[in-house]
């Protein structure tokens, strides 16, 4: 039968989309998932999509998660694509995390401290035993009234007072913006932090973990982790004073690390910083570990571990870029592959014929011997 060229690409794609929508909906006898349910009851997924999508909008993130069938990287991609369409109205004032209305605030470096250790809602001390009661539906407990969240001073203020901790860096007037300009090196700390804040949680988790296992270690301690709401303020030019436009939930992590110093320079603890949208401790902590590792060169430490390689970390931490390029391998590459096929066939033919002619001789000739046996062409 004569070969018939493959056609109908568009029809195939339409069919794929129809099937996708069908698969996304699943069994029609099961109630459809509402975006409000995702926003309320899968809050951690929503937080992650906001962070990696670089857009704080829980409703949109919930929608993206529904549309992506729970694939969080796909959802972050949807959010980023939407973000591209939004006009940039201006920049806010730096957010004051010291004034955060605290839901959760812990420090691993002091047993107790002003503001206290506020556990908040956390999995940390739970036992990871599947709770089969959640499979069913029980009449819910009434939503609990919580005391007003109080601000608490940052822990680093206590260490800073004695000069034990390196001070905050001076504020950058015009921070770089990765969403507007391409990544360039050398990348200063503001740029690195922005990249990490958008970076894939899993990738940063692995890198952070590696620093704890000897690949560029820095003896980290969790100086403080705080979760809660902060105000976003802008200063409209017409008014000339700050106006609050939104409340965001943020997770902030300050790591206190390896001190630097000598017999003559009094040692000081150094810092790593992590910040993420929503309640995202794993991300904020991993980010703080990697932030500190990326400062190794500037702090005069030995480098060479993957987490300390600025280009390696920043280039590969964006999961939307990464998934794009990894998954692009699914696109047709048969033209390039055809040329590879031809090249391999030619080389195999040449090797086969040279083996046939080599026979019982010295083989490859003597080392340093200028008499070489030429393969028959």
């Amino acid at each position: 039968m004569a070969y018939v060229a493959v056609k109908g690409g568009e029809r195939a794609i339409d069919a794929a989309h129809t099937w996708l929508a069908d698969a996304r909906r699943g069994d029609r006898s099961v109630p459809e998932l509402g975006t409000a349910q995702i926003e309320e009851q899968l809050g951690r997924a929503v937080d992650r999509v906001m962070a990696e999508g670089s857009l704080y909008d829980p409703g949109l993130a919930a929608l993206a998660i529904k549309q992506a069938q729970g694939d969080l990287v796909e959802a972050a991609f949807l959010v980023r694509a939407f973000r591209t369409t939004l006009p940039r109205l201006g920049a806010s004032q730096p957010v004051e995390t010291a004034r955060m209305a605290i839901t959760r605030r812990i420090s691993a470096i002091f047993k107790d401290l002003p503001g206290g250790q506020v556990l908040g809602p956390t999995y940390d001390y739970s036992h990871r035993l599947l709770d089969f009661a959640l499979e069913g539906s029980e009449p819910p407990d009434a939503k609990q009234a919580r005391p007003d969240a109080e601000p608490a001073p940052h822990v680093h203020a206590f260490l800073g007072g004695e000069g034990l901790l390196e001070p905050d860096e001076p504020q950058v007037a015009d921070p770089p913006d990765l969403t507007r300009q391409p990544l360039r090196f050398p990348a200063d700390r503001a740029l690195r932090l922005q990249a990490l804040a958008r970076g894939d949680e899993g990738f940063l988790l692995g890198l952070g973990y590696s620093t704890q296992r000897g690949y560029g270690g820095t003896h980290p301690f969790a100086g403080e982790i705080r979760v809660g709401e902060v105000e976003v303020e802008i200063v409209p030019p017409e008014l000339g004073f700050p106006v609050s436009i939104a409340d965001l939930t943020l997770t902030e992590c300050q790591m206190v690390n390896q001190f630097k110093g000598s017999k003559t320079v009094p040692p000081q603890f150094t810092r790593g910083y992590g910040l993420a949208f929503g309640h995202s401790e794993r991300k904020a902590m991993a980010m703080a570990l990697v932030d500190r590792a990326l400062r190794a060169a500037e702090l005069g430490e030995e480098t060479g571990a993957p987490a300390q390689d600025v280009e390696f970390v920043l280039y590969h931490s964006d999961n939307v870029e990464a998934t794009g390029f990894v998954e692009h391998l699914k696109l047709p590459h048969y033209v390039d592959f055809q040329s590879e096929l031809e090249a391999v066939r030619r080389m195999r033919a040449a090797a086969a014929s040279s083996l046939a002619t080599a026979g019982s001789g010295e083989g490859w000739g003597e080392v340093g011997d200028s008499r070489k046996t030429e393969p028959a062409k």
Partner: protein, 256 residues
């Protein structure tokens, strides 16, 4: 083989189809410097690795005589024994000093390491020994706490030498110890090596492509080509009156 320190007999080794050593035999007596010369591809580096115990020969054996006079087959030794040998009786000065030094450890720490590995536990004494050796290799002892990354190429090589010699090994292997250094730096380094080796009575196997280095440091030499020893004898005799055509070629190619 009476009274030799190191003896190799009929060593053969091939990388797949490529023969790198063919029936090579070598003897080394205590306190003497033997040069192994040849161009790249001659097999001299392979010979070095077989003598060191790093590469197992396809045929032949390497024998080492310890201080008590016991002869041991280097390739029949268990790994712990060989590693102990490398840490005590033997030393290896590599062409790239950075590969042998700990770049994040101070000069003093680098020199003191072999002492500490052998059980030295007095900080003051270790430090004093390190300072003494820095002086011997003509590095300012005030640099004892400096990191090697602040050292020049020649200084790194001298630091490596101090690190290796601090435990007074009986046998030191050297692989192109002056490779990659400026000519004036080379001359100073060679002079230092010559002085130290003769003062400490160390036996040396020196691998080099540079006939000038061989002439300056070695009493005897072997010339390798294509995995074989084509000529051997007293350095001056071989270099002044080469018999084998390849040796003649080497000697005549040296820029005067």
């Amino acid at each position: 083989m009476s009274a030799t320190l190191l003896s190799a007999r009929e060593l053969s080794f091939a990388f797949g189809p490529i023969p790198a050593l063919r029936g090579v035999s070598v003897d080394l007596w205590p306190g003497e410097v033997l040069a192994v010369v040849g161009e790249s591809g001659s097999g001299k580096t392979t010979l070095l690795n077989v003598l060191l115990g790093r590469l197992r020969p396809d045929a032949g054996a390497v024998w080492y005589r310890d201080e008590a006079g016991h002869l041991a087959d280097v390739h029949a030794m268990a790994e712990p024994e060989l590693r102990r040998l490398h840490r005590s009786d033997w030393g290896f000065v590599q062409q790239d000093a950075k590969a042998s030094l700990r770049m994040a450890v101070s000069a003093g720490g680098n020199i003191g390491e072999r002492l500490m590995a052998q059980g030295a536990r007095h900080y003051g004494n270790i430090r004093a020994a390190a300072a003494e050796w820095l002086e011997r290799v003509e590095i300012d002892p005030a640099r004892i706490d400096d990191l090697p990354r602040t050292f020049s190429g020649g200084m790194l090589q001298r630091l490596q030498i101090a690190r290796v010699l601090v435990t007074h090994p009986r046998l030191v292997f050297m692989d192109e110890p002056t490779g990659g250094l400026d000519v004036s730096v080379q001359a100073r380094l060679l002079d230092l090596i010559r002085k130290l080796v003769s003062r400490l009575g160390i036996a040396v196997v020196l691998v080099t492509h540079d006939l000038g280095v061989a002439r300056l440091l070695a009493e005897r030499l072997i010339v390798m080509q294509g995995g074989r020893v084509v000529e051997h004898g007293l350095t001056d005799q071989v270099l002044d009156d080469p018999q084998h055509p390849y040796t003649q070629l080497l000697v005549s190619s040296v820029l005067q």
